[in-house]
């Protein structure tokens, strides 16, 4: 192939027609409170892990909702399960269980 000096960027948009929410559905069945999240961000603000990593449960939750799973693993691994997020969540989302379920799901060969 001749050297064009540029490459064609692949689209960076979230394509809800293609993104499969398998992990979200896996978690939702076992922990329905994930649906109550209104992405207000108080969990990420108080998060202990956010002091040394990019971990933000709001973002993790959103990525799951949108079926974008690549980033989820590196974020949820930093979680210390300390439960501060649960204490501040205005919607009583069972945050720690969601993290554990994500870890479980990431170990499974979910498509």
């Amino acid at each position: 192939m001749p050297n064009f000096g540029f490459s064609i960027h692949s689209p960076t948009h979230i394509d809800l027609d293609k993104n499969y929410r398998t992990i979200f559905n896996y978690v939702k069945v076992k922990e329905p409170s994930i649906q109550k999240c209104i992405f207000c961000g108080s969990c990420s603000a108080t998060c202990t892990a956010s002091n040394y990593s990019a971990m933000s449960l709001r973002k993790v939750n959103l990525l799951l909702h949108r079926g974008m799973v690549q980033e989820v693993r590196s974020l949820t691994e930093q979680c210390l399960l300390c439960g501060k997020c649960y204490l501040v969540c205005p919607r009583n989302v069972n945050t720690r269980r969601i993290i554990l379920l994500i870890h479980e799901a990431l170990k499974m060969p979910l498509s």
Partner: protein, 339 residues
């Protein structure tokens, strides 16, 4: 006995007329169409508790029975004022003289054609929230115009509200909760449909609204995405391709849906500006009637003897409209009895 004109036979008009008749005034309702109830007449279930709309309309109609005379199919063409009397020239040629006038002209739904890029009236499966209400007359699953069961549906908030492009900077405040209500009604009819609500800010401003929002999330798995729709186009199989941005993730978002519901906002009623000029009362920047003071004199307009109630002075829920109507009736009473 003083005579009072109530311009507009919607929910506000009926309530004002009834209350005034209770205060033993002679009341005429001047209604442009031939049925009472206005917009509420066309709705099936009301937020937040799904009471049937006709129940409210019938209740208000029954109150009125032969206590008030109703001039159907009539509009105010011209108005004049002689010291405390108001002369109204009606479209059926007659002229009436009244001691006080209450404007309850209500609102008009934003004409979604003006948001061309949303493809309303271009793509058959782009409908407005009031058109969706007609689907709810029965419990059958919601289908597209090509009789395909809707598997994915998108509700678009703030269509014609909070939008300088169409000259409506105001928020119509009831479309958010209407979207949640309608989303639940769709979810009840199409249990495995994926339902998205695309919003800028969710304004659940009244009691039990937040509960409905939570119920929508948990019981019906309805998804709320913060992002304003930019454009709708049609795909090969006539499904609709939406372009948005997920502002919480800061990434563009694309999806295909079967049906797009535009939550059209409220604008001032049809030719209500002409009426306001005819009656000599000011109109706000959002073209709704402007009361003298938005705190203590919400029903009193700049012109003595002329009052305003209901959505004519800005978007309101039905509960607020009825309360506003009752307060207008009292204002009229104190105006006629105390001066």
């Amino acid at each position: 006995m003083p005579r009072i004109a109530v311009i507009g036979g919607g929910v506000a008009g009926m309530e004002v007329a009834f209350r005034l008749s209770q205060l033993s005034f002679e009341v005429d309702i001047i209604e442009k169409s031939f049925i009472l109830g206005g917009h509420v007449h066309k709705w099936q279930k009301l937020f937040p508790d799904f009471t049937p709309a006709h129940q409210i309309v019938d209740q208000l109609k029954n109150q009125l029975r032969d206590k008030v005379n109703i001039l159907f199919g009539n509009e105010v063409i011209k108005a004049e004022q002689e010291n405390t009397k108001h002369i109204l020239y009606l479209s059926d040629g007659t002229t009436q003289v009244y001691d006080a006038i209450v404007i309850t002209t209500g609102f008009k739904l934003f004409n979604a054609n003006r948001k061309e890029e949303y493809g309303y009236s271009v793509y058959p499966n782009v409908i407005t929230s009031s058109e969706l209400e007609e689907y709810f007359q029965n419990d059958k699953p919601i289908i597209t115009k090509e009789n395909r069961i809707v598997e994915r549906i998108a509700f678009i908030h703030c269509v014609g509200s909070r939008d300088e492009k169409v000259g409506n900077r105001h928020c119509s405040k009831v479309c958010c909760i209407t979207a949640v209500k309608q989303a639940i009604e769709v979810a009840q009819r199409n249990p495995d449909a994926e339902i998205y609500l695309f919003y800028m800010d969710l304004r659940m401003f009244d009691r039990k609204f937040e509960d409905l929002y939570l119920q929508a999330q948990t019981e019906y798995g309805i998804k709320f995405v913060r992002g304003r729709l930019s454009e709708v186009s049609e795909k090969a199989d006539s499904r609709l391709f939406l372009k948005l941005e997920d502002t919480l993730l800061g990434k563009p978002l694309r999806l295909t849906v079967d049906l797009v519901v535009l939550m059209v906002g409220m604008e001032t009623a049809e030719n209500s500006i002409q009426l306001a000029n005819a009656l000599g009362i000011p109109v706000g920047q959002d073209n709704f009637m402007l009361p003298v003071n938005c705190h203590s004199q919400k029903n009193i307009t700049g012109n003595r003897g002329i009052f305003v109630a209901g959505c004519a002075s800005g978007p309101k829920s039905i509960g607020e409209t009825l309360a506003d109507a009752r307060s207008a009736a009292l204002e009229v009473y104190s105006y006629l009895n105390c001066n």
